[in-house]
């Protein structure tokens, strides 16, 4: 543990510096206005903060509901050790997305307006509600970890008795939320390149979120194995990765069907920025890992598995940036490249997330598998034990 804490400091100092820089620049953005700090303009109103902080942040947080569903609803208890890290990551991911959103909103002090000013025709209204509700659910799913640390066995038992309700609510809310981020762009047929624009966007966003959720869980387990040493057996990780090829396959199938139905398959052979971005995204992020992971030699090898899940993560991040930024370039007379302030602020937000994660990993029983967790029946049956844990 001593070695780890030294290593921790090495990582935490630069991270803190990034957070400080990002914070300062964020203040500047509030002082001068969005136009001063960002490269946004009337023809390109959403930039990196929506494209990365919001869209990618939420997509990468999908592991929370995917794992909760796998373990608690489908009853695959052997994956239980991954649930807590996934919940913590998802919780952080959502908090970061909220910070990104606060920076991006022109009138952030009015961020609560969707609570009382209803406009249920708007996909953004749905997004706002899902963010609020699911962050609350994630917080409640996160609480047992804190209670356990504090040894509040009464509170722990009480909250574990209703866990299944959170799990259900969490799954319903996240599936809605992941897809609603796609619905946002369904109104943008006149802006978004036809390779990405389709009324199916909500479904595509949901399926790719499930894929990247799984990939993130495996990715984190491998990384934390490298840093903290408590490695999950490669058997378990490889078994979990078995779910990826079907999900990636469904995604590719849906995309090709959709391109074909809209009669734009021909765009794939074009030699344009959009066409290349699309091809790289689909081949690198979906086709390659989807095919490679079919082989058990790849799945049960740490390095190869790592490469595959990393490809999925990069592919989905590319997809979100393509939909929100690259696909919008052609229809904007000015174009858009994020300003250095936008990039550094995003860097600061991500660094903040990693910093909190590293502190939490040390202070809270996150990675430690527990004897009995999170089920009403389990809690009543093994209730006595929870207090000792």
């Amino acid at each position: 543990m001593k070695v780890t804490s030294l290593r921790n400091l090495d990582v935490r100092l630069p991270l803190s510096a990034l957070v400080a820089i990002g914070f300062g620049l964020a203040l500047y953005r509030f002082y001068g206005g969005l136009g001063v700090a960002t490269n946004l303009n009337d023809s390109f109103p959403w930039g990196l903060w929506i494209g990365f902080d919001m869209l990618c942040g939420i997509a990468l947080a999908a592991g929370g509901f995917v794992l909760a569903g796998t373990v608690h609803v489908f009853g695959l208890k052997k994956y239980e050790p991954f649930v807590r890290p996934a919940i913590v990551t998802a919780f952080l991911g959502y908090l970061l997305a909220i910070i990104g959103l606060t920076l991006d909103l022109g009138r952030p002090w009015a961020i609560w307006h969707p609570l009382i000013m209803w406009q249920p025709h708007s996909a953004l209204f749905e997004v706002a509600w899902c963010v609020m509700l699911y962050t609350t659910v994630l917080f409640l799913e996160f609480l047992p970890i804190v209670f356990e640390k504090l040894r509040w066995s009464g509170a722990l038992r009480a909250i574990q008795r209703v866990t299944v309700v959170f799990v259900f609510a969490g799954i319903i809310l996240s599936t809605m939320h992941q897809s609603s981020l796609g619905s946002l762009f369904v109104m943008m047929g006149h802006r978004l390149h036809s390779l990405w624009f389709t009324p199916m966007l909500p479904l595509l966003f949901l399926v790719s979120a499930v894929a990247v959720g799984l990939a993130m869980v495996i990715f984190e387990a491998l990384i934390s194995g490298l840093i903290f040493g408590h490695r999950h057996s490669i058997r378990l990780l490889g078994d979990l990765a078995q779910a990826l090829p079907p999900v990636l396959g469904i995604y590719i199938g849906l995309v090709l069907m959709d391109l074909n139905a809209r009669g734009v398959l021909g765009l794939l052979v074009e030699n344009s920025l959009e066409s290349w971005a699309f091809k790289i995204e689909i081949i690198l992020g979906f086709f390659l890992p989807g095919t490679l992971l079919l082989s058990s030699a790849v799945r049960y090898n740490r390095m190869k598995l790592f490469g595959c899940v990393l490809a999925v993560i990069v592919g989905v991040v590319m997809n979100r940036l393509d939909v929100s930024l690259v696909g919008m370039l052609a229809t904007s007379p000015t174009g858009y490249l994020p300003s250095w302030i936008e990039i550094l602020v995003t860097g600061g937000v991500v660094a903040g997330g990693l910093l909190v994660l590293s502190v939490m990993n040390q202070a809270l029983p996150i990675a430690k598998p527990l004897p009995r967790t999170s089920f009403a029946t389990d809690a009543t049956r093994g209730g006595g034990r929870a207090g000792h844990a």
Binding site: A110, M117, H121, P199
Partner: protein, 302 residues
């Protein structure tokens, strides 16, 4: 009255929901009639009558207290802005055809003025995407903006097919800016290029003008059907594509999103039942298993 239109809007979206995932063309054919706002105040702009004096642009600026138009006064040129911005909610644009292209066909180059501002759509995309209802279509035909509701998400800027709303980018308390349908421009026009009145009447009048002088006009009242129709109607001697006005299908633009939003209650209930069912099955299986284990435990040791 306000309620009626609201209901009309909802009815439309409901009808659109039935055409959920059909391609745009078929959705059109299934024909959900958008609210017409036939008796709301509309404005007809006849580009062939416009003399380009820009009195309308000046009236707009004065009425709304906007900054003077760009350029230097003493000495150098004084230029009128040609693009909408947060300080210019209405601009007069000029289209001129390439002389060579026209000469090749042995005719004079086409040209036209174009008065650009918010179209005040019957089913406005900006209204349907705004998460807090800061933008509203009122019974007067106007699409209004309420800065006290706005959260500054700028979704309206993205969603408007005519790219009308502008944003105060360099401002600590930014607002969305666009034409508010006060019709100061109509009152200012010295030659009757702008006509105000009930929408149905103006549409009829526009068609009459086309019929009387087919040589003068392109046979298209822009805004009659575009995206469900608009309260600002444009009549010109040059095709709208040349004037850089977008071609928009008559189907209601929000028809893609409404079925998605409409499916949510079903999704919540369905997912709830599905997850609940799975969970019950799973729990029974586990109980049976633990019972079996218990029996084994009991039988095992002795």
């Amino acid at each position: 009255m306000k309620k009626l239109n609201r209901r009309e809007f909802l009815a439309t979206s409901g009808a659109a929901a039935s055409s959920a995932l059909l391609p745009a063309g078929e959705a059109e054919a299934s024909g959900a009639a958008p609210p017409s706002y036939d008796y709301a105040e509309a404005v007809l702009y006849d580009a062939t009558r416009c003399i380009g004096c820009r009195s309308c642009q000046r009236a707009c600026r004065e009425y709304n207290g906007l900054a003077p138009e760009a350029g230097e006064l003493n000495g150098v040129r004084f230029e009128m802005p040609a693009q909408l911005s947060e300080e210019h909610w209405m601009v007069l644009q000029v289209y001129r055809e390439e002389p060579d292209a026209a000469a090749a066909e042995g005719r004079d180059p086409d040209w036209s003025y174009l008065k650009r501002n918010c179209m005040h759509c019957n089913v406005p995309a900006c209204v349907s995407v705004c998460p807090v209802g800061a933008l509203q279509k009122t019974d007067t035909g106007a699409v209004t903006y309420d800065e006290d509701r706005c959260i500054g998400c700028r979704y309206c800027l993205f969603a408007c097919p005519y790219r009308v709303p502008r944003y105060e980018w360099v401002d600590r308390t930014p607002r969305v800016r666009k034409c508010n349908w006060n019709r100061a421009c109509v009152r200012a026009c010295p030659v009757g290029a702008l006509t105000g009145g009930a929408r149905a009447k103006l549409v009829a009048e526009a068609h009459e003008r086309i019929e009387e002088r087919p040589d003068r006009y392109v046979d298209h009242v822009y805004g009659e059907h575009e995206g469900g129709g608009t309260s600002y109607l444009i009549l010109a001697g040059v095709g709208h594509d040349k004037l850089a006005l977008p071609s928009i299908s008559p189907s209601v633009r929000s028809s893609y999103v409404d079925p998605i939003m409409g499916s949510l209650p079903g999704w919540i209930v369905g997912m709830g039942l599905f997850l609940g069912g799975l969970y019950q099955i799973e729990r029974r299986r586990r109980e049976r298993e633990s019972m079996r284990n218990g029996e084994n435990d009991g039988e095992g040791p002795p």
